[in-house]
Protein backbone atom coordinates (compact mmCIF):
# COMPACT_ATOMS: atom_id res chain seq x y z
CA UNK A 1 0.00 0.00 0.00
CA UNK A 2 1.05 3.57 -0.51
CA UNK A 3 1.09 6.37 2.05
CA UNK A 4 2.09 9.97 1.64
CA UNK A 5 4.71 11.20 4.11
CA UNK A 6 4.81 14.95 4.78
CA UNK A 7 8.00 16.69 5.94
CA UNK A 8 8.11 19.86 8.01
CA UNK A 9 10.75 22.15 9.45
CA UNK A 10 14.19 20.60 9.64
CA UNK A 11 12.95 17.41 7.91
CA UNK A 12 12.02 19.34 4.79
CA UNK A 13 15.61 20.59 4.60
CA UNK A 14 17.01 17.13 5.35
CA UNK A 15 15.09 15.39 2.56
CA UNK A 16 14.91 18.39 0.19
CA UNK A 17 11.20 17.67 -0.25
CA UNK A 18 7.83 18.59 1.18
CA UNK A 19 6.42 15.12 0.82
CA UNK A 20 7.13 11.67 -0.53
CA UNK A 21 4.93 8.71 -1.49
CA UNK A 22 6.12 5.55 0.22
CA UNK A 23 5.28 1.90 -0.44
CA UNK A 24 4.68 0.16 2.88
CA UNK A 25 3.69 -3.45 3.62
CA UNK A 26 0.07 -3.95 4.58
CA UNK A 27 -0.11 -3.94 8.40
CA UNK A 28 2.45 -1.17 8.76
CA UNK A 29 2.10 1.17 11.70
CA UNK A 30 3.36 4.61 12.62
CA UNK A 31 6.08 2.83 14.57
CA UNK A 32 7.27 0.69 11.67
CA UNK A 33 7.28 3.69 9.32
CA UNK A 34 9.36 5.66 11.80
CA UNK A 35 11.78 2.73 12.14
CA UNK A 36 12.36 2.79 8.39
CA UNK A 37 13.30 6.46 8.66
CA UNK A 38 15.68 5.81 11.53
CA UNK A 39 17.43 3.28 9.31
CA UNK A 40 17.64 5.83 6.51
CA UNK A 41 19.37 8.49 8.65
CA UNK A 42 20.58 6.79 11.82
CA UNK A 43 23.04 9.63 12.51
CA UNK A 44 20.02 11.86 13.36
CA UNK A 45 18.98 9.70 16.33
CA UNK A 46 17.93 12.59 18.58
CA UNK A 47 15.73 14.00 15.86
CA UNK A 48 13.75 10.77 15.37
CA UNK A 49 13.07 10.39 19.06
CA UNK A 50 11.87 13.99 19.37
CA UNK A 51 9.23 13.74 16.62
CA UNK A 52 5.49 13.55 16.89
CA UNK A 53 3.50 11.99 14.06
CA UNK A 54 0.11 12.98 12.71
CA UNK A 55 -1.98 10.64 10.60
CA UNK A 56 -4.53 12.54 8.54
CA UNK A 57 -3.97 15.61 10.72
CA UNK A 58 -4.46 13.89 14.08
CA UNK A 59 -1.60 13.14 16.47
CA UNK A 60 -1.01 9.38 16.43
CA UNK A 61 0.75 6.79 18.58
CA UNK A 62 3.28 4.20 17.46
CA UNK A 63 0.72 1.41 17.26
CA UNK A 64 -1.61 3.35 14.98
CA UNK A 65 -2.24 1.22 11.87
CA UNK A 66 -1.66 2.86 8.49
CA UNK A 67 -4.01 2.54 5.57
CA UNK A 68 -3.67 3.10 1.84
CA UNK A 69 -3.65 6.81 1.03
CA UNK A 70 -3.00 8.02 4.61
CA UNK A 71 -1.18 11.31 5.02
CA UNK A 72 1.53 10.73 7.61
CA UNK A 73 3.17 13.95 8.83
CA UNK A 74 6.53 13.83 10.60
CA UNK A 75 6.51 16.76 13.01
CA UNK A 76 9.66 18.12 14.68
CA UNK A 77 9.07 19.88 18.03
CA UNK A 78 6.96 22.91 17.15
CA UNK A 79 8.13 26.49 17.54
CA UNK A 80 5.20 28.66 16.61
CA UNK A 81 3.83 31.42 18.76
CA UNK A 82 6.15 34.10 19.97
CA UNK A 83 7.11 35.62 23.27
CA UNK A 84 9.84 33.22 24.21
CA UNK A 85 9.74 31.62 27.61
CA UNK A 86 12.66 32.43 29.90
CA UNK A 87 13.78 28.83 29.90
CA UNK A 88 15.86 28.37 26.77
CA UNK A 89 16.66 24.98 25.43
CA UNK A 90 20.25 24.08 24.88
CA UNK A 91 21.42 22.21 21.85
CA UNK A 92 21.24 23.95 18.52
CA UNK A 93 22.95 27.12 19.69
CA UNK A 94 25.92 27.79 17.50
CA UNK A 95 28.56 30.31 18.38
CA UNK A 96 27.92 33.59 16.66
CA UNK A 97 30.47 35.67 14.82
Amino acid sequence: MQVRVLYFGVLKDLFHAESEDLEMPVGSTVGSLLKSFQERAPERGGLWSSLAVAVNQEYAKKDCALREGDHVALLPPVSGGGGESQRQSQGSSRSSG
Binding site: K61, G81, G83
Partner: protein
Protein backbone atom coordinates in the same frame (compact mmCIF):
# COMPACT_ATOMS: atom_id res chain seq x y z
CA UNK B 1 -14.61 32.34 18.45
CA UNK B 2 -12.39 33.80 15.74
CA UNK B 3 -9.44 31.65 14.65
CA UNK B 4 -7.34 32.49 11.62
CA UNK B 5 -3.99 32.15 9.92
CA UNK B 6 -2.67 35.25 8.16
CA UNK B 7 -0.08 35.48 5.38
CA UNK B 8 0.17 39.24 5.86
CA UNK B 9 0.10 41.55 8.89
CA UNK B 10 -2.37 40.49 11.61
CA UNK B 11 -4.97 43.28 11.92
CA UNK B 12 -4.67 43.47 15.71
CA UNK B 13 -6.73 46.60 16.31
CA UNK B 14 -9.67 45.30 14.27
CA UNK B 15 -9.59 41.92 15.98
CA UNK B 16 -9.50 43.48 19.45
CA UNK B 17 -12.27 45.93 18.58
CA UNK B 18 -14.48 43.16 17.19
CA UNK B 19 -14.15 41.18 20.43
CA UNK B 20 -15.82 43.71 22.72
CA UNK B 21 -19.22 43.20 24.26
CA UNK B 22 -21.16 44.89 27.04
CA UNK B 23 -20.98 41.93 29.39
CA UNK B 24 -17.17 41.89 29.45
CA UNK B 25 -15.30 43.48 32.33
CA UNK B 26 -11.88 42.39 31.14
CA UNK B 27 -10.02 41.96 27.89
CA UNK B 28 -6.54 40.43 27.98
CA UNK B 29 -4.43 40.59 24.83
CA UNK B 30 -1.21 38.72 24.15
CA UNK B 31 0.99 39.68 21.23
CA UNK B 32 4.05 37.62 20.40
CA UNK B 33 6.46 39.79 18.43
CA UNK B 34 9.66 39.08 16.53
CA UNK B 35 12.62 40.01 18.71
CA UNK B 36 15.74 41.62 17.31
CA UNK B 37 17.93 38.92 18.87
CA UNK B 38 17.99 35.31 20.01
CA UNK B 39 20.37 34.69 22.89
CA UNK B 40 22.26 37.83 21.93
CA UNK B 41 22.59 36.95 18.25
CA UNK B 42 21.12 39.59 15.95
CA UNK B 43 17.99 38.37 14.14
CA UNK B 44 17.45 39.58 10.57
CA UNK B 45 13.98 38.10 10.05
CA UNK B 46 11.99 34.92 10.69
CA UNK B 47 10.21 32.51 8.39
CA UNK B 48 7.18 30.80 9.90
CA UNK B 49 5.74 27.74 8.22
CA UNK B 50 2.97 25.39 9.23
CA UNK B 51 1.15 22.19 8.50
CA UNK B 52 -1.58 24.61 7.77
CA UNK B 53 -4.82 22.60 7.76
CA UNK B 54 -3.77 20.74 10.89
CA UNK B 55 -2.55 23.93 12.59
CA UNK B 56 -5.89 25.61 12.01
CA UNK B 57 -7.78 22.58 13.32
CA UNK B 58 -5.52 22.44 16.39
CA UNK B 59 -5.97 26.16 17.01
CA UNK B 60 -9.76 25.80 16.85
CA UNK B 61 -9.59 22.85 19.22
CA UNK B 62 -7.46 24.79 21.72
CA UNK B 63 -9.79 27.78 21.65
CA UNK B 64 -12.83 25.55 22.22
CA UNK B 65 -11.02 23.89 25.11
CA UNK B 66 -10.03 27.25 26.64
CA UNK B 67 -13.57 28.66 26.34
CA UNK B 68 -14.85 25.74 28.35
CA UNK B 69 -11.96 25.33 30.78
CA UNK B 70 -11.81 28.99 31.82
CA UNK B 71 -15.46 29.99 31.28
CA UNK B 72 -14.54 33.10 29.34
CA UNK B 73 -17.02 34.68 26.95
CA UNK B 74 -15.02 34.78 23.71
CA UNK B 75 -11.54 34.27 22.29
CA UNK B 76 -9.75 35.32 19.11
CA UNK B 77 -6.56 33.54 18.05
CA UNK B 78 -4.51 34.55 15.02
CA UNK B 79 -1.14 33.27 13.79
CA UNK B 80 0.90 34.67 10.96
CA UNK B 81 3.00 32.63 8.51
CA UNK B 82 5.72 33.55 6.03
CA UNK B 83 8.50 36.07 6.45
CA UNK B 84 8.29 38.36 9.49
CA UNK B 85 10.51 41.33 10.22
CA UNK B 86 11.71 42.37 13.69
CA UNK B 87 8.84 43.92 15.66
CA UNK B 88 6.09 42.25 13.66
CA UNK B 89 3.44 40.15 15.40
CA UNK B 90 3.53 36.39 14.89
CA UNK B 91 0.65 35.51 17.21
CA UNK B 92 -2.26 37.43 18.70
CA UNK B 93 -4.61 36.16 21.40
CA UNK B 94 -7.57 38.14 22.71
CA UNK B 95 -9.64 36.85 25.62
CA UNK B 96 -12.83 38.66 26.67
CA UNK B 97 -14.46 37.78 29.95
CA UNK B 98 -16.70 39.12 32.68
CA UNK B 99 -13.86 38.59 35.15
CA UNK B 100 -10.17 39.31 34.85
CA UNK B 101 -8.72 36.22 36.53
CA UNK B 102 -10.26 33.91 33.93
CA UNK B 103 -9.14 36.18 31.09
CA UNK B 104 -5.51 36.16 32.26
CA UNK B 105 -5.45 32.44 32.93
CA UNK B 106 -7.12 31.51 29.65
CA UNK B 107 -4.78 33.72 27.63
CA UNK B 108 -1.69 32.34 29.32
CA UNK B 109 -2.81 28.74 28.90
CA UNK B 110 -3.51 29.30 25.20
CA UNK B 111 -0.09 30.67 24.31
CA UNK B 112 1.72 28.10 26.45
CA UNK B 113 -0.25 25.22 24.91
CA UNK B 114 -0.08 26.56 21.35
CA UNK B 115 3.70 26.72 21.56
CA UNK B 116 3.87 23.04 22.45
CA UNK B 117 1.19 21.52 20.25
CA UNK B 118 0.28 23.52 17.14
CA UNK B 119 2.31 22.37 14.10
CA UNK B 120 4.07 25.63 13.23
CA UNK B 121 7.83 26.06 12.93
CA UNK B 122 10.09 29.04 12.64
CA UNK B 123 13.42 29.43 10.94
CA UNK B 124 15.60 32.17 12.36
CA UNK B 125 17.79 34.08 9.94
CA UNK B 126 20.97 35.59 11.33
CA UNK B 127 23.80 37.42 9.64
CA UNK B 128 25.83 34.21 9.44
CA UNK B 129 23.16 31.69 8.57
CA UNK B 130 19.75 30.31 9.38
CA UNK B 131 18.54 27.67 11.83
CA UNK B 132 15.23 26.06 12.67
CA UNK B 133 14.38 27.21 16.20
CA UNK B 134 14.53 24.57 18.88
CA UNK B 135 10.96 23.66 19.59
CA UNK B 136 9.62 22.88 23.01
CA UNK B 137 9.35 19.11 23.54
CA UNK B 138 5.90 17.73 22.75
CA UNK B 139 3.64 16.96 25.73
CA UNK B 140 3.70 13.26 26.58
CA UNK B 141 0.16 12.81 25.27
CA UNK B 142 1.28 13.69 21.74
CA UNK B 143 4.51 11.74 21.57
CA UNK B 144 5.01 8.30 20.17
CA UNK B 145 4.85 6.40 23.43
CA UNK B 146 2.99 3.10 23.42
CA UNK B 147 3.75 -0.30 22.09
CA UNK B 148 4.90 -0.93 18.59
CA UNK B 149 2.38 -3.73 18.29
CA UNK B 150 1.54 -4.63 14.74
CA UNK B 151 -2.14 -4.18 13.98
CA UNK B 152 -2.09 -6.74 11.20
Amino acid sequence: MQVAIYKTRIPAEEIVAAMKAGEDGAVVVFEGNVRNNTRGRRTLFLDYEAYEEMALAQMRGLVAEALEKFSVRDIALAHRLGRLEVGETSVLIVVASAHRAAAFEGCRWLIDTLKKTVPIWKKEHFEDGAVWADGEPFPAALTLGGTEASNA
